[in-house]
């Protein structure tokens, strides 16, 4: 019989990593038509980071995402970057990109200030225009300013910057210190059906409420959460590298190493928690890794809720769950007392 259960798990997760410095550098160059090119040493590994970085550069320059072309991942031509790791790209590389774009923007302001008859500090970049703060009707198109900066002033708008999260080394005796600049928080709730005759667990629904600071791109955040949950389901129920007695892997192939397919995916509902971190670019933190952190715990808690067995070693395969159910039943079966 299928029994339904629900389980909750929350978590916290740092952005970036400990032990060593964790810097990123970036270069933003504006073309004479008001479009821009962003150079970054990070790598797109499928998560959409280059799109997020383009949005950050565009926001700072007051232009649209499509106006920014991103060039990445070549050690000959790109500024140094610690890489696409540790959920750090939006936060660390994003801060470097924002600072680089700001430097290019200041050149635009210097060009625009005499045209608008104000000081540089009174200007802002919005909607592809440079405008006077509080007087948006006094503006010049960015394309015109970028062209003028390069062709008339001889100052092509370009900026390079780097950023490294401020941390304090941990005391080796007590572990006290500030190992990370910031943390994110999340909760996932799983609803499962457990077949008490086979031990099979079906994940029906997962609700995920994640903090990522200000979401630069909510759609990509949702994508990360959905992908993270699929990995979490595999970690909870299916995946395991097995070794024989001689230390050789038994299942180094996708026939015998079982992982979730689209058919195993539950209904996923994603909420992004309202949050703003002043140390991140436009308030953003990050979301990559945390998405797969609480999933297994939530599912295992749901299994316990459904059939009253606590599996304390992952993965909770059907065999393991069934054995635990049988052991519990055996325990609860009244015995004939000894005489």
């Amino acid at each position: 019989m299928k029994r339904r259960g629900r389980g909750i798990a929350c978590m916290w997760y740092p952005v970036g990593f400990t032990v060593a410095a964790n810097p990123s550098a970036a270069t933003v160059k504006m073309n004479e038509d008001g479009t821009a090119t962003l150079l970054t040493g990070t790598v797109e590994t499928g998560q959409g980071s280059l799109t997020v970085l383009a949005q950050i550069a565009a926001e700072e320059l007051g232009i649209a995402t499509d106006d920014v072309h991103v060039v990445s991942a070549d050690t000959d031509a790109m500024p140094m970057d610690t890489g696409a790791i540790a959920s750090r790209t939006t936060y660390v590389t994003g801060n470097a990109v924002r600072l680089a774009a700001e430097k290019a923007k200041l050149i635009l302001f210097e060009t625009a200030a005499p045209m608008l008859g104000v000081k540089s500090e009174q200007l802002e970049a919005r909607d592809r225009k440079i405008q006077v703060k509080g007087f948006p009707q006094r503006n010049v198109a960015i394309s015109e300013i970028a062209h003028r900066a390069q062709v008339v002033m001889g100052q092509p708008p370009i900026g390079s910057a780097s950023w490294n999260p401020p941390t304090v080394a941990m005391d080796p005796e007590t572990g006290q210190g500030k190992p990370f600049s910031t943390y994110v928080y999340a909760t996932q709730i799983a609803e499962v059906d457990v077949d008490d005759e086979t031990g099979d667990v079906e994940v029906l629904r997962i609700v995920a409420a994640h903090d990522c600071g200000k979401p630069i791109n909510p759609m990509l955040v949702e994508g990360q959460v959905e992908g993270g949950i699929s990995m979490g389901i595999g970690f909870a129920l299916q995946e395991q590298i097995l070794f024989d007695d001689a230390g050789l892997q038994v299942n180094p192939n996708l026939t015998n190493y079982i992982m979730p397919t689209s058919l195993d995916m539950p209904e996923i509902e994603v909420d992004i928690v309202d949050s703003y971190d002043p140390t991140g670019p436009f308030g953003a933190k990050g979301v990559g890794e945390p998405t797969s952190v609480p999933t297994a715990a939530a599912i295992l808690n749901a299994i316990n809720d459904a059939v009253g067995v606590r599996i304390t070693s992952l993965p909770a395969t059907a065999e393991k769950v069934l054995a635990a159910i049988k052991a519990k039943q055996a325990q609860n079966t009244p015995r004939i007392p000894a005489r």
Partner: protein
């Protein structure tokens, strides 16, 4: 004299016309044309909007992926390119007596064979340089590469590695991390200890905390070894330019570190190495460090040709990093109203044969292991040990999924024992803005309670259950 080809006006028109438009039968092209797609595409409105931040902006690479036009490493080819395969040890711990490559070298189509003895600096690793590029003296786990071949085709290279004979003297091995902790266990990297990283966090007085607690909960939790399983396996192409610079197209997520590792193993200055990462088909932490890149570079140097290497799924499992299995002992002291007063955590992470990112993984696991909860008295002790198994390294979460499984499982056990709602006990103990972390860091932008309440509301946690 150039040969003149006459094409009649009629036949030219026929091939140029779209089928069915003119009534004439069009010729079937001898080569299938590339997938036709409009180059002039409509840019989605959301990409043109300002301000850019906060928009649900579509990805420029999404179109390429959807049309199958994205070029991963395996889609690239250079003139004269060779294919490499790496022979795996297939034994977990051994001394290498000899490697006989003669039969493989004699095979038609084999252009070069490489062993670890030919690698200028045969060690690498992000924090400890304990990993050979190709094992030369000793084998530390069954997935170690022991020799590599470059051949005209992938099939010839695969056959050639079968003909390489390695004479092993088996050594004692250790596979269980708890056994590896013992002084009398076989040492994976003798004479060094199997325990290669230890971390401690202390806060308050954990024993005094337990003494004050109304209830003590103890439990052990274990997690398993898993693979990242990216759709695209590790793949790279190495080629040299005439000035002695090596150019490597590779599936790395960390090119700055990759360049340093390649330069170090090949004894080149950094400006003689170029790493191009193109687009990576899934990383999840598994592509944070080099694997076969120096091997391909040296095979390319030997043959004077570009050399491509693509991991099989088997290589991916046995010769790339995996997630650390953890054994976790949790002892928690709780007051009768459900507040956590003290928590002691002992962690042992199975590091496999090499350090890789174990230091970082253990560090994160330690800091996070007591959960996002206000606990005044803490003691965390953590060890990572060598075993003669596949190396473990960075994987999505760096130790966090393991400890979260433990602290959140125990949280439900505590809630059940005290007859409390699992949501309620979490809200009672959760970090607030300004809370101090286990390392004494004052936390900002803390929205844990918001996330608990938002998820509970969306789920319908408080509604009556059917």
């Amino acid at each position: 004299m150039p040969r003149k080809v006459r094409v009649s006006e009629k036949s030219r028109r026929t091939t140029a016309q779209a089928p069915g438009s003119g009534g004439e039968i069009s010729r079937v092209p001898s080569v299938t044309p590339p997938v036709a797609f409009p180059i002039e595409t409509l840019v989605p409105q959301v990409r043109l909007q300002t301000p850019a931040v906060g928009q649900r902006v579509t990805r420029p690479d999404g179109r390429s992926h959807g049309l199958g036009q994205t070029r991963y490493i395996d889609d690239l080819a250079f003139p004269g390119m060779l294919y490499a395969k790496i022979k795996r040890a297939g034994i977990a711990a051994a001394r290498i007596r000899s490697i006989d490559t003669r039969e493989a070298e004699a095979m038609p189509g084999v252009l070069a064979v490489l062993t670890g003895f030919e690698i200028p600096v045969n060690s690498f690793g992000p924090s400890l340089q304990d990993q050979p590029v190709l094992a030369d003296q000793r084998v530390f786990h069954a997935g170690d590469g022991v020799a590599a071949v470059a051949a005209l085709t992938e099939q010839i290279a695969a056959e050639a590695i079968e003909k390489i004979k390695v004479d092993y003297e088996p050594s004692p091995a250790v596979f269980d991390p708890l056994q590896a902790l013992r002084e009398d266990a076989p040492k994976v990297h003798a004479p060094a200890s199997n325990i290669y990283e230890t971390q401690v966090i202390r806060k308050g007085d954990v024993d005094a905390g337990f003494a004050k607690a109304d209830h003590i909960f103890e439990g052990q939790y274990r997690t398993q070894m898993v693979e990242h399983v990216p759709l695209e396996p590790h793949a790279a192409i190495a080629a040299w330019d005439p000035n002695g610079r090596v150019i490597i197209h590779t599936t790395l997520g960390r090119i700055t570190l990759g360049r340093a590792d390649v330069a170090r193993t090949l004894k080149l200055s950094l400006n003689r190495v170029r790493i191009v990462a193109t687009i990576v088909g899934g990383n999840f932490g598994g592509k944070n460090e080099i694997t076969q890149e120096p091997v391909l570079a040296l095979l390319s140097k030997k043959t004077g040709r570009p050399v491509k290497g693509v991991f099989t799924r088997g290589d991916e499992f046995t010769a790339s990093t995996t997630r650390h299995p953890f054994i976790m002992d949790y002892k928690t002291g709780v007051s009768k109203d459900g507040r956590i007063i003290a928590r002691k955590v002992r962690l042992v992470a199975d590091g496999g044969a090499y350090c890789s990112w174990s230091e970082t993984t253990l560090g994160k696991a330690c800091i996070l292991s007591t959960g996002p909860y206000r606990i005044d008295n803490l003691l965390v002790e953590a060890y990572v040990v060598y075993t003669n198994k596949t190396m473990t390294g960075a994987m999505r979460g760096f130790g966090a999924p393991q400890v979260c499984f433990a602290y959140e499982s125990q949280m439900d056990e505590i809630a059940a024992a005290l007859d409390m709602d699992p949501l309620q006990i979490r809200l009672l103990n959760a970090f607030d803005e300004g809370a101090a972390s286990p390392t004494g860091q004052v936390l900002h932008s803390v929205v844990l309670k918001d996330s608990l309440l938002k998820a509970a509301q969306r789920f319908g946690w408080k509604e009556p259950r059917s």
